[in-house]
Symmetry: C2
Subunit: 273 residues, 2 copies
Amino acid sequence: MILLKLGGSLISDKKKKFSVRRGVLDRLAAEIKAGAKEKLIIVHGGGAFGHPVASEYELHRGFKDKAQTKGIVLTRIAMNEMNNRVIDALARRGIPAVSVQPSANVICRGGRIEQLNAEIIRKFLELDITPVLYGDVVLDEKQGFCILSGDQIISYISKIFKPSRIILATDVDGIFDKNPKKFRSAKLIEEINPANLEKILQKLEASPRDVTGEIKGKLLELVALARKGFEAQIINAIKPGRLKKALLGQQIIGTTIKKGRYKWIQNDRCKKA
Amino acid sequence: MILLKLGGSLISDKKKKFSVRRGVLDRLAAEIKAGAKEKLIIVHGGGAFGHPVASEYELHRGFKDKAQTKGIVLTRIAMNEMNNRVIDALARRGIPAVSVQPSANVICRGGRIEQLNAEIIRKFLELDITPVLYGDVVLDEKQGFCILSGDQIISYISKIFKPSRIILATDVDGIFDKNPKKFRSAKLIEEINPANLEKILQKLEASPRDVTGEIKGKLLELVALARKGFEAQIINAIKPGRLKKALLGQQIIGTTIKKGRYKWIQNDRCKKA
């Protein structure tokens, strides 16, 4: 089984609220159809749909006041809408994709998944159906609700379903030592392993806050997975053909987070989220 | 807490595939906003969205062959779309409604609910959010998948949440002794109780098959509930003002299924579904 993440920035235009990248999405669906020779679970991010509303109503810190109710409603509407478009694009290319709404399936505790009904995912796979999950606002036993990232879903279900490969399709070539969208001198890190992780984290922390907070969170989520023996590959799926090649197991440019004996690093972003 | 069912025929036009009755839906949302003074759970039917695809691929009998996979995918897409429109209409009128996708939350066994994560519904209610469920194609431990009706959801969650009132908003005045859409002589049955049930069932069975199968199934679902002590009221919400009145507990035309010591009647339709 292959676990595939479609990044929010890849399939939507974060600068334009509620805008999906139709052309990209359609091409990705075609590449998935051509490249996925095993069963598949897909998780997508919130991108231009979930993020703007969730941050407007400060949903990431859980319940603060009643006004957030509207934010929950609007975020849920936006994510349903985004997910519909993803499912639709996949189905049009012949991928039997079915939405599995995280907010109806998962309960968190302090921002971390406390229960997730994996039986539902397993049974869809048994029917040769591709379950599609996504970053969502979900209920939380401690703080009322929280934002559950696609990355945390990837991490959690990997441990249950033990995928043969984890592919994170994004809009950059992989993890860089600086923000590649701002610095031309940014260098791609092709491999992350127990020996170089700490140096990479230091470099990321030295870069401007906004982007690195996100990348650091994602990276630590993947490192936690690598400690359990699951290797993940970050690729740039904006470049045509790369996702298909990655799915077929062919070598392409990207960052691989190698499995290994990483030191335990507190995932503060996730703890807070 | 009030449990409200919005019938599929009420909010969509069963004669036109994938068509929602926008005007009706908007008015119903306004009536709900004006009339619901308690917490609320809403369940809607599949109507013009779920039914055509589900019956084309014969999903109601569970897994028969691989071709049904497409039917599951298309039914799920249709139901997500319908549910989005319902949620959107409710939210526009200021009802904090959030979709709870049954296929991500429920597992059936032989067409009957085996597990349903009620914690998710409960937590939304605690946040003063209105969970909205719907008839859906869901996974089934015995037959792969099945069609879960909105009526079965109503019946199941009533036992858990013990609503103060159960209102079934439809496009007819209630249960008639014949099909009121075909026979002008059809008489409304205002009350169903242990004394008159058997006679009513006999009359329904004597009417043409198509409609009565549905009505009989619905009625038996409600009778099973009435045996447990939960009274349900069927009303015609096509008539402006009736839903609001029903929500406010005012007397209106309709059929009430009185609680009481009904004899056990095998719900064959549900057993098969």
